[in-house]
């Protein structure tokens, strides 16, 4: 996924997804489960609503003093013996890591799940430089073996059925494994255990970084996040700069709602607070810690339309409830981040042009905003993106003409009435049993799968005079 426009247009990618029976089955299972887990968790958590408001406020307040918090974070990390790098672009972040690998003789790096590293396509760059990246999160491990990209922000392999995973393992690892998640998980545990112990470098993202104390926070379930930050001699954390939060007290607010929103757990199995490289007397831990603070398009949104999208905790809740995501899955979106927030993040990282179709991949139902732990108003920003697409004249001419016509009819009752009369005339050859079942041109997009009521013989406005009698 480079900056070249994607080869297949979005509607075609969506079409392929809709026709993929395995994908449809996997999506239904996964999203339905996630929705239930989240619902149950918040149902038993009356304090949750107020905490979401507080979390949102903390994110906004942090942005209002972002420079000070980042400065404090960096000072603290350096004071503890860590190194801080400033990457304006994804390319730079990649280069920093490659340089570290070169300078430190890194041959193999184990990775804990990090969307930030997906965003900068790190694995491909490492491989090209002769460094072997090993994904250790089970979902990421699966897609690495399959040479695919993640299809969900927190469950990367959710598009695969267990049968597909078993086949994949059997093929790539040699052997015959049953389609049983327990069996397959045990296979991954065994394969990866040795890698943790042998790797030169551990690469993670960061869910949060506490400015006040210089702490990098990782929220995980499998234990690979802990392995990766304790066993190899170098730890590199790649972090979008908007992940900084001021204090430990703030951190507790986020921890109270993050896992609930993502998986319905009160807390994930492991929340790991990393403060610098290993301390004297510790028998384990990295000799070096490198924190890469990355911009990659985020700064531009501080005063931009997508500022609110900087609050995102990357929990994935919006994906699970999105009627579009639930039907087409993550890959059809075509970029690193899928789903409702993914459209906004793609615009942030790649520009408005990249989302000229995706901005419309939404029925604006608002379910995403409902479940977002920090109440990001995604629908509003999607509409604003649509406005940008219109303003920058990215929308096709045909569409702009149709809307121009619609606007005129809405502004003029005379034109509106004329439209109704013309519609009644034009539809005559198409009315079957009181319905329109097959219309030509653009209207065929509707009637291919749905009937349409015809324009009424008498509109309500025309009937009013009969009604307007006591």
């Amino acid at each position: 996924m480079s900056d070249a426009p994607l080869k297949t247009p979005f509607p075609q990618r969506a079409h392929a997804a809709l026709g993929d029976a395995h994908l449809q089955e996997a999506l239904t299972i996964a999203t339905t489960k996630f929705i239930g887990l989240r619902k149950e968790s918040f149902a038993g958590f009356p304090a949750g609503e107020a905490l979401r408001d507080r979390a949102r406020a903390i994110k906004e307040a942090t942005l209002q003093k972002l420079d000070a918090h980042l400065e404090r974070l960096a000072d603290n990390v350096e004071r503890l013996g860590g190194h801080v790098h400033w990457a304006a672009t994804g390319d730079e972040a990649r280069d920093i890591i490659l340089r570290l690998c070169r300078d430190k003789g890194v041959r193999m790096a184990v990775k804990s799940k990090s969307m930030a590293t997906e965003e900068i396509e790190l694995n491909e760059a490492l491989e090209a430089a002769g460094v072997k990246p090993v994904e250790t999160d089970l979902g990421e491990y699966i897609i690495q073996l399959a040479h695919e990209k993640p299809s969900h922000i927190i469950a990367p392999a959710i598009h695969k059925t267990k049968g597909q995973v078993a086949d994949l393992f059997s093929k790539e690892l040699g052997g015959r494994f049953e389609a049983d998640p327990e069996v397959l998980t045990a296979v991954a545990r065994k394969e990866l255990r040795q890698k943790f112990l042998e790797a030169d470098m551990g690469i993670t993202g960061a869910n949060f970084a506490v400015a006040e104390t210089g702490t990098i926070v990782l929220v995980t379930n499998e234990g690979n996040g802990r392995m990766v930050t304790s066993l190899p001699r170098i730890h590199v954390a790649v972090m979008g700069m908007e992940k900084v939060i001021p204090t430990m007290t703030d951190l507790m607010v986020f921890l109270s709602i993050l896992a609930r929103s993502a998986t319905g757990q009160k807390l994930s199995s492991y929340t790991t607070l990393v403060r610098g490289p290993r301390q004297p007397g510790e028998v384990e831990g990295p000799e070096e810690l490198h924190l890469i603070l990355m911009d990659n398009g985020r700064t531009r949104q501080i005063a931009g339309t997508l500022r609110e999208a900087l609050y995102c905790l990357r929990c994935g809740a919006c994906l699970n409830v999105c009627p579009v995501y639930r039907q087409i899955g993550g890959h059809a979106y075509g970029y690193t981040y899928p789903g409702p927030i993914g459209i906004l993040l793609t615009a942030m990282l790649k520009g408005t042009h990249a989302v000229k179709d995706l901005a419309h991949a939404s029925s604006l139902c608002g379910a995403c905003k409902d479940v977002c732990p920090v109440r990001i108003d995604i629908p509003r920003m999607l509409v604003e993106l649509r406005e940008h697409v219109d303003r920058e004249r990215i929308a096709p001419l045909g569409e702009r003409m149709v809307f121009g016509l619609a606007r005129r009819a809405m502004a003029s009752p005379g034109l509106f009435r004329l439209g109704a009369r013309l519609g009644r005339l034009a539809q005559r050859p198409f009315v079957r049993n009181g319905r329109l079942t097959s219309l030509p041109l653009f209207f065929g997009q509707w009637t291919r799968t749905r009937d349409l009521p015809p324009v009424a013989a008498r509109t309500f406005s025309e009937r009013w005079k009969d009604l307007d009698r006591p």
């Binding site: 579009v324 029925s363 219109d390 749905r450 009937d451 009424a456 309500f460």
Partner: protein
């Protein structure tokens, strides 16, 4: 406010609403020259154009005491988006806010303004109710329509699984991405049919057009009706 879809495609819903409200003692008028609330323009990003339409609508209803709308999405548009669209217009800013305050979706008007929770209706049948997105999430309304339906003696209300899930309409979404829209619709209709209801009720013309269109295409015996048609079934087509 009749709404564009209501005027052109579902006049019987408007008629039912009028008869119902009159039966309940409400005096109605109908400002002439209504077209559309402008939401299709707004949602597709044509905000400047939407503001022009909003301005027109605000003027049209300037002298109305309450504005009743048989559609959750249009009521939402007027109540939540009109003030923002017209906030830079010194002449229309206050009237837009006033219109926002005095506009009601039908079920909200019946219960919250008229204080009516029981409407006598000869309607008989098993119904299931779909929560339209803008009424549910935009206006926070899920109880009133159910209350009204339950209070109709001959009406048996069965909960719709996934009632709060989108029907797939989304305005232009339904024709920009018709395949995805239809896939979402199929899921919705599967749920509807699982309830065994003879009637699907909703408070939004867009949803009714989408769901009714799907039901009709699959030859389903389930009828898609507006709440007003359950409360005033003999309004005549």
């Amino acid at each position: 406010m009749i709404t564009c879809l209501g005027d052109l495609l579902f006049p019987e819903v408007g008629v039912a609403m009028v008869k119902l409200l009159r039966r309940l003692g409400v005096t109605l008028d109908f400002p002439e020259g209504q077209t559309c609330c402008g939401m299709p323009l707004f949602n597709s990003g044509y905000h400047h154009d939407a503001a022009l339409v909003a301005a027109r609508t605000v003027r049209l209803f300037e002298r109305s005491e309450h504005v009743i709308v048989p559609s959750g999405s249009c009521a939402w548009m007027v109540k939540t988006e009109y003030p923002g669209l017209l906030e830079d217009d010194p002449a229309l800013r206050a009237p837009a806010e006033a219109l926002a305050r005095k506009t009601y979706e039908l079920s909200q008007f019946l219960v919250d303004v008229l204080g009516v929770t029981t409407v006598d209706s000869p309607f008989k049948g098993r119904v299931t109710y779909h929560d339209s997105c803008h009424l549910l999430r935009g206006l926070g309304e899920s109880q009133n329509p159910r209350k009204l339906l339950r209070a109709v003696k001959g009406c048996e209300l069965v909960e719709l699984p996934g009632s709060d899930e989108c029907c797939g309409f989304g305005g232009s979404f339904s024709v920009r991405l018709p395949e995805v829209s239809t896939a979402v619709l199929d899921k919705k209709l599967g749920n509807v049919e699982s309830t065994g209801a003879d009637c699907l009720v909703a408070c939004d013309a867009g949803c009714l057009m989408q769901m009714g269109g799907g039901l009709s295409r699959r030859g389903s015996r389930v009828r898609a009706l507006h709440l007003a048609q359950v409360l005033e079934p003999e309004a005549g087509a």
